[in-house]
Symmetry: C2
Subunit: 219 residues, 2 copies
DNA sequence: CCTCTTTTGTTGTAAAAACAACCGATTTGT
DNA sequence: ACAAATCGGTTGTTTTTACAACAAAAGAGG
């Protein structure tokens, strides 16, 4: 667990809390570290979760496979990001998505109750973390709405432009890389891979974008 | 403002706080009441907001009109629900959606900073509200993911079934009403109205659903 | 009660996406 | 280094949607 404290320090959740303070908070927040092999499920649809999770190593996808095997990728989780925050309320229902490891990964689970109620211990930074959590959830919320705005686009072309523009803006550069391969991007935008591939090439031939592998540039 | 305290009492945000306590918190939270006529914009895309809003009268839509007039309805806000929670973090960007009044409406804006930092005043229920806010955002988050799961469906038919099933489950009944007319539902699911209307009638003719106006039943 | 407006359903056509099948290039594992 | 698997691009066909135009029904207002 200790080796991941520097990672935690750089997360939005523990922003403003130094390493020794994080270390002392770990027991207070009932932190539990778990490892997952590539392809393993971290959480499964239908399960009940009561804890907040932070990815400290690897890469995850939040996704959903339907009866016929069609996959929807709701979002991706990179190192330092949290997940499971949509299920911290006592009245929360069961999970509606799977969370799966794309690479060998490590996740730390925290007891949210401890995070939310001020503890009597020495955790002076309790309230800071609680506030960070609030802001982190606010941002997450905004990201979801932004993803919704891509999904609201009617055509594959528009979805691509919407997504690529947003990524370009987010990464503050006209050239950027995306965390998906073609199939994953198609699953993320909920379109057919071949049709999307076709559309990407059209956009390239029209001189609007350039790309190679998962590196893109808006022109 | 006073007349809306009973409304506030029933909101998730002020759950567990009684009316007199809410009244004493209003000044502490810098509450400001504003009225909007039907059709008026409560918030506009590109604006910067720093406050958390609660609808205490009327009905709102969170939406987005593109250059060609195509409308996307991201969500609807009923009395007692909050909005603007995605912009409470200091590093939040500007609004990416419009919020518009569908009926004459009343909105109370709160200063989030006051809500998050414990005040030195008599507000014993400060922390309760802060915790409520966290849970409310968690739920909101889950609703957004659920809407994403409708949007991920490829066909109009699947989107309809996904949405109607979720509403049925949410309202705990096989017959329920929805807060949209046909055009609004189409904008909400991002499909063509006439095609959707057609699909609805097919579903009805196949005996899967029944409906009249905005009352639906799953069979 | 009648008119005007809004809402909903219907239909035909054009456009777009899904699907399937295939190939070449790249990557991975041994 | 080689075989197998994965990945990305291409094309033709089928299915679905978007679009447009219109008619019927419902609702609002004088």
């Amino acid at each position: 667990m200790k080796k991941y404290i520097p990672i935690l320090k750089r997360t939005q959740l523990f922003s403003g809390v130094n390493e020794s303070e994080i270390e002392s908070m770990l027991s207070c927040l009932d932190a539990r570290l778990k490892y997952y092999k590539k392809g393993e499920y971290v959480l499964r649809e239908g399960e009940r979760v009561g804890s907040l999770a932070v990815l400290v190593e690897g890469k995850l996808h939040i996704q959903n496979d339907d009866y016929w095997g069609n996959r929807s990728i709701i979002g991706d989780i990179a190192v330092g990001e949290m997940f499971g925050e949509a299920y911290i309320a006592p009245q929360s229902d069961t999970l509606i998505n799977d969370v799966v490891a794309l690479e060998d990964s490590a996740v730390i689970f925290f007891n949210v109750t401890c995070m939310v109620t001020t503890c009597s211990n020495t955790c002076r930074f309790h309230s800071a973390v609680a506030q960070n959590l609030l802001f982190a959830m606010s941002e997450k919320n905004r990201k979801l709405v932004q993803k919704l705005s891509h999904m609201h686009k009617r055509t594959t072309r528009e979805k691509l432009i919407s997504y690529l523009s947003a990524e370009s803006k987010r990464q503050n550069s006209s050239s950027f890389s995306i965390p998906f391969n073609r199939q994953q991007l198609a699953d993320f935008l909920s379109v057919d891979r071949s049709a999307m591939s076709n559309e990407l090439c059209k956009l390239r031939d029209e001189g609007l974008i350039a790309f190679s592998k998962n590196n893109f540039e808006l022109l």
